[in-house]
């Protein structure tokens, strides 16, 4: 995410309410409410967001409890945790990341491909292996059912 940041919520800062910006937003603190940007949103490792996160590109390294909607790309880093549904055109979930919720990936034709993720502790290798067997294409093991 190479664009410059227009809004930064630092660590130890609490935001209650909706945070909207046309430019990029980086969150390192806590937000209770909607975070919305026309460009990018970066959820830092120390960030905790309770509410929807909506942007063109979203990168999650912290915790989000709520809908995450990325019109372009959603990336969940190893430290990232999402408890809620995600809606992204392109999705990257790195090893160690946690995602509990439903995933919708709109296709170019307009039809939505839906995937569900059950709550699953990270590092539960046995369950991961089961998931791997069920769906070979899901290499990270976060999506147990389709």
């Amino acid at each position: 995410m190479e664009n410059s940041i227009d809004t930064v919520i630092g660590i130890n800062v609490t935001v209650k309410g909706n945070l909207y910006n046309k430019g990029s937003i980086q969150v390192n603190g806590s937000v209770e409410g909607e975070v919305k940007s026309d460009e990018n949103i970066m959820v830092g490792e120390t960030a905790k967001i309770k509410g929807p996160v909506i942007a063109s590109k979203v990168e999650v390294s912290g915790e989000v409890r709520g809908l995450v909607e990325a019109k372009d790309k959603l990336e969940i880093n190893p430290t990232g945790k999402i408890f809620g549904d995600i809606n992204a055109h392109s999705l990257i979930i790195k090893e160690g990341a946690l995602f509990v919720g439903k995933s919708v990936m709109p296709s170019k034709e307009g039809a939505a491909n839906e995937t569900k993720s059950e709550p699953e502790p990270v590092g539960n290798e046995a369950k991961k292996e089961e998931a791997k067997d069920e769906k070979d294409s899901d290499k990270l093991g976060f999506f147990s059912k389709k």
């Binding site: 410059s4 940041i5 227009d6 809004t7 930064v8 919520i9 630092g10 660590i11 130890n12 800062v13 609490t14 935001v15 209650k16 309410g17 909706n18 945070l19 909207y20 910006n21 046309k22 430019g23 980086q26 390192n28 603190g29 409410g33 830092g44 120390t46």
Partner: protein, 253 residues
Amino acid sequence: MYYYIFDIKKCKKRSVVADIKNHLAALGISGEYTYPSTAYTTEELIDLGISKKYNTIVGIGDDMIANAIASKLVGLPEAMGFIPIEASSDLCQLIGTSSWREAANNLRFRKIAEMKVGRLADGSVFLTSIELDLKNPTEITMELKDCMIQGKAANFQIANYNPLIRKIGEDWLDIVFQTVDPKESGFLSKISSMLGFGKEGQNDISLIRARSLRLFTSAQIPILAHGNVVAKTPQFIECSDENLRLIVGKKKI
């Protein structure tokens, strides 16, 4: 046409005042020269200049006289000029020079930039920035249009113009503050951070953009502009709707 107000506190050397006057005369833009005194305050002199139909009011001094003139001229057709003496580097960058001679030359070229200013609840304005006079980290609360922001701030600045911050829009104020962990502001944490066990490298700087905000602190804190107290918290701060017509250097946009 030109109405000059000299801040005599900043023009301690008589020779500087004489040099400026001589230079303005040489440029052909001499006018009425005034000085704040017990008889007339700076604000009264500005009102007098406007009532005398001068179309350019020029302040000579630092940020305080610049802000005083801007407070009166914002939204008016009269242009504001400024010749810096001991002015902040931010204000010098705003007008495009730190040299009084060059600033005087710019008055003659009369390149006018229309700009917004920051405004406090009492109507006084600031061209560059204001900051909280924080002796210790203090709980602050900001009420913005759609949200409330809280944190324990160690440094806090609201900028209308700060050359280090890229503005996203001319009618937005840039709020920059550094916070500390409210749970770790005790004596032991100070020692641990001194010994290098602190959480250095964490992102403790916040940057918020807002057109207006209400600022509250746990205790009443003075608000400074260029080191001078201009207000106290709680305070309402906004970006002006009206423009100020400021004469700037040739290279400034």
